[in-house]
């Protein structure tokens, strides 16, 4: 089985729209939405929930006021500024490292497991999906991404899938790195703007760092064709292979409102471009 991961650096460039197109076109596949902060792929798939569970990402320090003698040792060792002058623990700042637990002379602090989100699997009109939802402000998105990938791999074994289609998150940090490990290929989706190019350069750095073969798609290329040309020059210099351009097409959000991918609309110019990209990519990774 080969896995293809959609990344972009910059958000909102069309990762999920293209991943949704691949989901519709690909046969014998499993889908994973690893954008656990803002998972959207299911909105194109009409999912039916199969299984779900709590995700215990990390722990947090909890203090027993009755035992606390206000000695301040915990505050002294905490490197995350999570303990204030009155020795209250801020759950948003606490990283659950346990240093305070170790130094507390009266055993007033314990680490308690924290439910940071939920994972789920679903059957959809385009195949099985593994996805998740991270609760607001939680920090263990990398671990949840890894869990979603594990669930997807289990689903893939059950159906003997040949493709795993993974929708990634924006940025270059923790969840992106977690989604990139083990991917067979990455499709980078960018847009013709200075921001798009700037962010592409940084995400390409990450992908190169992990030595994953990468391909480039410029979405909404006709909104600024000079920038598109500039991006293509950049891609050439960096030996990043272009596998397609998608035109700006108002029918993309219209189909999204219907819960569909643009490739399910035979009239859509963007849908036609996505079909070409899919065909080219399939040839590439054979």
């Amino acid at each position: 089985m080969k896995s293809v991961l959609f990344l972009s650096g910059k958000g909102g460039t069309g990762k999920t729209s293209l991943a949704g197109a691949f989901a519709a076109l690909s046969e014998n596949k499993v889908l994973a939405d690893c954008d656990v902060d803002a998972a959207n792929l299911h909105l194109l798939l009409d999912p039916t929930m199969e299984e779900k569970g709590d995700f215990q990402g990390s722990s947090e320090a909890v203090k027993d006021e009755a035992k606390c003698i206000n000695c301040g040792e915990c505050r002294r060792v905490c490197r995350f500024h999570a303990i204030d002058e009155q020795f209250n623990i801020d759950p948003y700042l606490c990283e659950g490292c346990g240093a305070c637990v170790y130094v507390c002379p009266t055993d007033a602090i314990t680490l308690s497991p924290r439910i940071s989100g939920q994972w789920y699997t679903a059957s959809t009109r385009h195949g099985p999906l593994a996805s998740a939802e991270l609760y607001p402000g939680e920090e263990t998105s990398g671990k949840l991404v890894t869990l979603v990938k594990q669930k997807a791999h289990t689903l893939a074994k059950e159906v003997n899938a040949e493709r795993l289609i993974i929708d990634g998150s924006p940025g270059i940090g923790c969840p992106v790195i977690a989604s990139a490990t083990g991917a067979s290929a990455v499709i980078l989706v960018t847009e013709p703007s200075l921001s798009g190019l700037h962010d592409l350069e940084r995400i390409l750095g990450v992908v190169t760092h992990f030595r994953i073969p990468a391909y480039l798609v410029v979405n909404k290329f006709d909104l600024n064709e000079e920038m598109t040309a500039q991006i293509e020059v950049f891609a050439k210099e960096r030996e990043l292979q272009m596998i397609g351009r998608i035109p700006y097409d108002p029918s993309v959000p219209k189909r999204m409102i219907e819960g569909k991918s643009a490739v399910e609309d035979t009239q859509s110019p963007a849908g036609a471009a996505m079909r070409e990209i899919y065909a080219r990519f399939e040839k590439e990774i054979q």
């Binding site: 972009s8 902060d37 490197r79 948003y92 990283e95 240093a99 990398g142 940090g173 977690a178 703007s193």
Partner: protein, 308 residues
């Protein structure tokens, strides 16, 4: 006053709103701009700052002295992040997993562990359009962006109108950027993806009790579900930016709307007045409208739907 511009979904126009707002009000207020989208910061493209200094943001990584280490395994047992493992005689430290908490050093009975700074990224500081500008930049290949955002928040200047460009999402980097703000402006687009992620972003802002306003960008491309949601949740829609090829083109070239199209200066000033004077913020001291360069003749009251 502190205004954070955030969104659940990426690419909805956070940076557009943050940079235009900063430029539009910078003749009336002492503005400080913090680009906290440290994974992919873009505000500099529009603000074109002069960077005056750069400093490093580090975390401390453990280093084990193989001679002093007895392979007792206490460090590996204590580490909550599985960042240290002992396999046979080998000691492995996984830099990406390490949070730099220092617990391994504390528990080591033979003093075999020392700590050394490791750079996560940098913070660049300078000026743009006559106001203070800083941006965080996570090094490529590093996973942890939150410590950079925390350090940037330490730089918040008193008596300034601080505008924070937040990272997308709902996780800890985003909450670090939203927490302690007086107001969060959530930028979204009128599509199912935009709505879904807006709901998550509202959850984030509410979890840290920050009043929220919504800006709908690319208005006209989708449907009215975002507005209906805002109405239901009593969240004021403070501004709508239409989808127009002209606007998209300006954005793509790194030109701010306020600089290119004068009418947008007024609209972003109105956006500021609207969020600064909103009932959601009533009860807070008026002097909190910090950083005013001169006493204004008019009070900052909401002129209904001011910015629309």
């Amino acid at each position: 006053m502190r205004i954070t511009i955030a969104s659940g979904k990426g690419g909805t126009g956070k940076t557009t709103v943050a940079t235009n707002l900063a430029i539009a009000v910078s003749d009336k207020f002492s503005v400080q701009f913090l680009d906290c989208d440290v994974e992919e910061p873009n505000a500099h493209i529009f603000l074109k700052p002069q960077i005056e200094h750069t400093r490093s943001v580090e975390k401390l990584l453990p280093e084990v002295d193989e001679e002093l280490c007895t392979r007792c395994g206490e460090c590996a047992k204590a580490c909550e992040f599985n960042a240290i493992a002992i396999i046979g005689k080998k000691i492995l430290v996984y830099n990406d997993l390490c949070h730099g908490c220092g617990l391994c050093k504390m528990v080591c009975p033979t003093g075999a562990i020392s700590e050394h700074p490791h750079e996560l990224g940098v913070i660049e500081t300078g000026t743009a359009h006559g106001f203070l500008f800083s941006r965080g930049l996570l090094n490529v290949g590093e996973a942890m962006s939150t410590p950079i955002i925390h350090e940037m928040k330490e730089m918040i200047a008193p008596k300034h109108l601080t505008i924070i460009d937040a990272p997308p999402g709902t996780g800890c980097p985003t909450i670090a950027a939203i927490k302690d703000a007086d107001v969060a402006i959530l930028v979204t687009e009128p599509t199912p993806f935009g709505l879904h992620d807006l709901q998550a972003a509202v959850g984030v802002a509410r979890s840290v009790e920050v009043p929220v306003f919504v800006v709908i960008n690319r208005d006209g491309i989708g449907d009215d579900h975002v507005e209906r949601y805002c109405e239901q949740e009593k969240i004021p829609v403070a501004m709508k930016i239409p989808f127009a090829r002209e606007i998209a083109k300006l954005y793509s070239q790194g030109t701010s709307l306020v600089d290119a199209l004068p009418e947008w200066k007024e609209r972003f000033e109105a956006l500021y007045r609207y969020v600064a004077s909103s009932p959601a913020r009533q009860g807070e001291a008026d002097s909190d409208v910090a950083g005013e360069r001169h006493t204004q003749g008019t009070t900052l009251r909401d002129t209904k739907g001011g910015a629309k």
